[in-house]
Subunit: 346 residues, 2 copies
């Protein structure tokens, strides 16, 4: 899928570009070829949402994750950068099979930021933390000069516990496994795009930003569960490519099966985006063994959870590609995200 | 000391100002009156360098801390933002009496950043982590638009373990305790100022940015140790005010005893700064009971550690002020840092 070899993470001028942050190939290469080259160690797994620390005497495994957040605008229908930061970090732990317990919070505030806005963002953060049952136990604030900080950047780390015996990960995926998604994809990315108002488009679409704990808690009790991930930056297509890259197996996705809201589809058609690359912030992609797929779907669709959960594809087609089976019976390859085709939304 | 009451953290125009990030009164008020009001919980202690999580079955206490880093220039004599981030986080755990184990790393990279520079920063981070014996176990990278990110902002969280039975903190400080410092103060702040070259000043001063683990490991074996802190943002004066605010007791510092390099003193005199507010990034302020002061000093001065460690003052004068006894036998009050008198250096 990728004609370029290693060592090409640098853009032609040797500088960081927006594509280094889009979740796609160049970001992955920057991480692997620069950060991991220097900082790599046995516990650092760049393919995981959260790192597993050595187990406690109780058998439970402490899990730790970290995430940075930049979003424009800072407030959007369905959330803001504060709730987004909590949901993003909680969800990285949740899809790793952990119960989130503690968060740390870093705020980079731009000189001139409205304190009323900061108060609203912090209140949303608190509400999201309370709902997810996590405590913010440490924080830090830095103020950067006017014009240098995009208003607010947040960086959060999260610590949780994964119960003894729960083994999830890309390495557990096997040929024939089924791929499920808990609800429509691309809502968050599209809602943020619309909130900018810069395309002359309007709509009532709301970001899906939310804790996925209700879904992941139900799924971890399904014995055939192999792997979970939240399709954030880079979208569903990027999760599919992560599976292909790690397992060496191909993926077939059914285009008609993938839930995409009409409004997301319409905005993408108008602007020339593919919704499969757009971020969701409250969805779970789950990979399960075939026999467990009905139980996993039932768990995802449980009361108060995701009635729209569906099966969207399978793992294990012969070539290590992501193949989309289209509505009219054709096939299309879904490429890994390359240069930045999308406005920055997270 | 402070004629203004609560509720005045907002500047007159209701916006974030640089003083909200300087480590002084307005920053403290922003944290207490906005962040803690929303996010407060039993584990969040804004007076501590690291939060103590519930103890493990072994009796050891997991400690967690977080810090954001912005520095201009990104590289300076004696370090760069990469090594600084590792030292800062390692040191917050060290002065809490913990052995640092794991770090998480968030990078906010500005579009256009030179990748060679990023490589050097990451290499320094790796070297600092290796020296301190910590592993970077999780990371995240965001790219922000050109002009919006100051080159690189870093946010690091750290996790460590404090051994069973070790009890340190502001709450343990008692009247009559002695205050020690492990070496000259203000080197980092002054070195960064000089590295900007904007004052027409030059010098060979090197930042003291370093892990303080050798000092803190020696100190935790001194039975009379009450409290340790690294005098970073806001400097030694701010540590003194934190002690006064928390204990309600005053502090007397001996001006001639406080180690300040001639070059730091000269730069401060020329620019009108007080070196007591300038950051160090490799020093420890320790509070010990009087009988233990000689043992603590000996521990700090041990091989490969801090030969310049000295006693600089005592806790427990009558009024809750920070009093500086001057060389000529007079007394001067050291105020809490107010509006931002200092260029942003961390």
């Amino acid at each position: 899928m990728n004609s370029q070899g290693k060592g090409d993470f640098a853009s032609s001028d040797g500088r960081v570009s927006l594509a280094h942050g889009n979740g796609g190939r160049r970001m992955r290469q920057l991480i692997e070829e620069l950060f991991v080259r220097h900082l790599g160690n046995a516990l650092l797994d760049t393919d995981a949402d959260a790192a597993a620390l050595p187990p406690l005497p109780t058998g439970a495994t402490p899990m730790i994750t970290t995430d940075g957040f930049t979003v424009d605008p800072l407030e959007f229908p369905g959330g803001n950068i504060g709730s987004l930061a909590v949901h993003g970090t909680v969800n990285d732990l949740a899809v790793s099979g952990a119960e989130p317990l503690y968060l740390t919070l870093n705020c980079f505030l731009e000189e001139g930021l409205d304190l009323g806005l900061l108060d609203r963002l912090t209140a949303s953060m608190a509400a999201a933390a309370t709902e997810a049952g996590v405590k913010v136990v440490a924080g830090d604030t830095k103020v950067v000069r006017r014009g240098e900080g995009g208003g607010v950047y947040l960086a959060t780390s999260g610590v949780g516990l994964r119960r003894a015996g729960l083994d999830l990960g890309l390495g557990r995926i096997a040929a024939g496994d089924h791929i499920l998604v808990s609800g429509p994809v691309g809502d968050h990315g599209t809602a943020v795009l619309l909130a900018r108002g810069q395309f002359g488009l309007r709509g009532d679409l709301v970001s899906d930003s939310a804790s996925v704990l209700p879904v992941t808690r139900a799924l971890v009790d399904v014995p055939g569960l192999r792997f979970m991930r939240d399709p954030t930056r880079g979208g569903l297509a990027t999760v599919a490519h992560e599976i292909v890259r790690h397992t060496g197996m191909g993926i077939r996705l059914s285009e008609p099966a993938i839930p995409i809201r009409d409004q997301v589809r319409a905005v993408c058609e108008m602007l020339g985006y593919n919704p499969l690359y757009l971020a969701s912030e409250g969805r779970v992609v789950a990979v399960v063994d075939p026999a467990s797929a009905p139980a996993a779907l039932a768990a995802m669709r449980g009361p108060g959870q995701s009635p729209d959960a569906v099966e969207i594809g399978t793992v294990g087609c012969e070539e290590p590609y992501v193949v989309l089976e289209t509505e009219i019976g054709g096939e299309r390859l879904i490429e890994e995200l390359e240069a930045d085709p999308l406005p920055r939304i997270c």
